[in-house]
């Protein structure tokens, strides 16, 4: 029974001791220690959130880069397409122009040939007339005596030489 009866003296001293210990430790130990621990936790938290923010910014930057890259790609694509179109248009234009020119050339060539031909024809007619006159002259000079035969011959020649 003695063992489980609280002793007044010890109760008195324990109460005082605990109170003193509490105030000393609270002021000189727990406050600075817990303060340091809290500060440290806060700085770690801050550093972590800053890192997270930087990461986010990095991701944003990356996304921006990607966007720019995509836009550039699209632009290139469209530029290339345009260039290709221009190229094919130029080619087509050149082709049609060339054809036109060729056609014109052929046409003018044809006209020239026609002109030359008709000129040549005229000349040939003249030459034939001259020749005929020469031949006739010669024949006349040679066979003037045989008038009938001569005429006959001339007639023959003229028959054979059909002028066009």
């Amino acid at each position: 029974m003695d063992l489980v009866t609280p002793d007044i003296g010890l109760i008195f001293w324990t109460t005082i001791s605990f109170a003193i210990l509490y105030f000393i430790l609270a002021k000189f130990a727990w406050k600075p220690i817990l303060g340091a621990v809290t500060d440290r936790e806060k700085s770690i938290k801050d550093a972590l959130s800053a890192a997270e923010k930087a990461k986010e910014e990095m991701a944003n930057l990356k996304a921006d880069n990607e966007k720019i890259l995509n836009e550039a790609k699209l632009q290139r694509e469209s530029l290339l397409k345009e260039a290709r179109e221009i190229k094919s248009k130029i080619i087509a234009d050149a082709e049609s122009e060339a054809t036109e020119k060729a056609n014109k050339l052929v046409e003018s060539a044809k006209i020239a040939i026609e002109n030359e031909k008709s000129a040549a024809m005229k000349e040939l007619q003249n030459t034939v007339v001259d020749l005929s006159l020469n031949i006739a002259e010669k024949l006349l000079s040679k066979e003037l005596d045989n008038k009938e035969k001569q005429v006959q011959n001339i007639q023959d020649i003229l028959d054979k030489t059909k002028l066009n």
């Binding site: 063992l3 002793d7 003296g9 001293w13 727990w30 600075p32 220690i33 817990l34 621990v37």
Partner: protein
């Protein structure tokens, strides 16, 4: 160096265990008298007015402690050495016209009608009838408590100083050892039991409580002067701590707490009436369980170790010494764990009671 140190420790341990055993005043070099295990153990786990260190040739060597009495004639102080190690009420110390005796580690007024040289009178049941002054002496346990306070202040003020040396607030030196313990109380006791909103207010109390109990538990396990006092196994000590927890719980309790005790919400009225007295008793049973748990666990530890050592004397055979020494070392190791767990349990339950008192319920 280490081996030499541990050898010295072993010898000291052995000597002091035996010193403690011979400390019982009844068996003082009296070969014919039977060795009383019960008395030896009770003498050890109870408080004393002088700090017994060892016996040399049957002569007790002890550290005298001041006796402080509030008597009918005012305050009286003297050193316990004036009783000459007498604990049977045979030696009288006279102060301010009053005579005092020490009987079974209690101070009484001397009665002239005593017999056999004792100034003690008994009733029919053998209870002492002498009047007692109010005894607020610095006893062995109070002395031990003061040492523990000095140690705690030294350790934790030194810890606090290490933070001023560090650059980023990381622990250095002693802080590397003590900070994990402090963080353990913060993260495993205060935060889950009290909650993030209010825990900081109770951290100083919980930390002081935990380390005060723990250091006194550990000091009780060290078997030589100035340690070995069974302070945390004393009911007065655990009583005070439990009362402090009770007072905090009751004073900070919010409306919800009282409502849950006297008019439990969400139950039919007969159940409310039935639960109210039970819950009301619970207010007191909680701190009482705290008080008894710590007292019983620590006292039991001391009793087991002393009983195992006593086996040698009970069987009166030195051959039993290795066995009893092996078991007492084994139990001592377990006790190292137990004392830490008991300090933790006391703290976590205190935190839980405080937490339940300030908890905000949502209905």
């Amino acid at each position: 160096m280490l081996i030499r140190f541990s050898r010295i420790c072993t010898i000291a341990l052995f000597m002091l265990f035996s010193a403690n055993i011979f400390a019982n005043p009844a068996g003082k070099s009296d070969e014919s008298k039977e060795f009383d295990v019960n008395e030896m153990i009770m003498h050890h786990i109870k408080d004393a007015h002088e700090f017994h260190i060892m016996d040399i040739n049957g002569h007790a060597v002890s550290f005298p402690l001041p006796i402080i009495l509030w008597t009918e004639n005012g305050l009286v102080t003297f050193l316990s050495s004036e009783f000459n190690h007498d604990d049977s009420g045979k030696t009288i110390v006279k102060r301010k016209g009053q005579a005092f005796i020490k009987y079974h580690e209690k101070i009484f007024y001397a009665e002239q009608t005593g017999y056999l040289g004792k100034y003690v009178v008994y009733d029919d049941n053998g209870l002492v009838l002498n009047k007692k002054p109010l005894d607020i002496s610095i006893t062995k346990m109070v002395f031990s408590m003061f040492i523990s306070m000095i140690l705690l202040v030294m350790i934790f003020v030194a810890t606090a100083k290490t933070y001023t040396r560090s650059i980023n607030g990381e622990p250095t030196g002693l802080g590397k050892f003590t900070e994990p313990l402090i963080l353990f109380i913060k993260d495993e006791v205060a935060l889950p039991m009290i909650g993030e909103k209010n825990y900081q207010k109770y951290m100083p109390f919980l930390l002081t409580l935990f380390f005060f109990i723990w250091i006194n538990n550990v000091m009780g396990l060290i078997p030589f002067f100035p340690f070995s006092a069974n302070l945390s196994g004393n009911i007065a000590f655990t009583f005070v701590l439990a009362v402090i927890t009770f007072m905090i719980t009751t004073l900070v309790a919010n409306k919800d707490y009282w409502k849950h005790i006297f008019w439990m919400p969400g139950l039919p009225v007969p159940m409310k009436l039935f639960l109210a007295p039970i819950e009301f008793l619970g207010i007191f049973i909680k701190p009482i369980s705290l008080m008894i748990r710590l007292f019983a666990n620590i006292s039991a530890g001391h009793i087991i170790i002393l009983s195992l050592i006593s086996l040698i004397f009970i069987f009166k055979s030195i051959l039993l010494a290795p066995v009893s020494l092996f078991f007492s070392v084994f139990i001592s190791l377990i006790e190292v764990l137990v004392v830490a767990i008991q300090a933790y349990i006391f703290t976590i339950l205190s935190a839980m009671y405080i937490g339940s008192a300030i908890e905000e319920h949502e209905h």
